[in-house]
Amino acid sequence: MNVEVISISTDTHFSHWMWKKTSPTIKNVRYPMASDPSGAVARAYGVWQKSGVNKRGRFIVNPEGTILAVEVLYGPIGRNVDELIRQIKAMQTVADNPGKAAPAGWQPSDGVKGLITTGKDDIGRY
C-alpha cells in the first residue's frame, strides 16, 4: 500500500525496545516506534496532555506532506484499524482518479467503479 506507520509516545526508546523484547505481539512490529519524552512533537500535533501521556491521535499524511485526516480519541477508547485502512485506500484511489470522489460507505472492495463524479449536477442526488 506504500504506507509507513510511525508510532510516537512519551516513553524512551529504551522502553520501546524493552516492550518489543517482552511482548509477544509487539515483537512483530516492523514500523518505527519513535520516542518523544519531552512531548515536543506531541505538542506540535496538539495531543500532549499535562499528565505526560498522549491522547490517541492519528494523522494520515499524503506523499506531499499534507495532513488529510485526523482522529483524536480521548481516554480508554481503542482505535479501529479497518476504518484507518478504508480511509487510506479511499484517499489513494481518489488521488489516482482526479475529479472523482469516494462516497459515504465506500469500501476498498468497491474499487474505482465505486467512485462517483463530483459536480454541481450531483447536488441532491445522494
Partner: protein, 92 residues
Amino acid sequence: MMRVLLVFLAVIFMLPAHVPAQVLGGCGTSEATEPAAAPEPGQMTRVPLPGEQAPNFELPAVVGDDITTIRLSDYKGMWRVICFYPADFTFV
C-alpha cells in the same frame, strides 16, 4: 530470576533519559529541516487540521532491532500514518 531481572531492567529503562527531540517545521514541499519554534512545555496547542502541512520532526526510534533517528521527511513520497498513544505496555 530471569523475570526479576527483566522487571529491573524495564524500570531502569523507563527512567527519564536525555533524548534530542526536535520539531522541524512543515513537512512537504518546503522540506524544513531547521528546528522550528517548538511549543513551550505546558502551553496549550491545537491539533493541526486536514489540509495543513504535517509538522516535521526528528526523534530517536526503535526500527526492527535497531535504535536509530528518524524524521517524518525520511518517508517523503509515501503515505504516512502517525499514531500517538499514551504509553508502552498499553493497547493502541
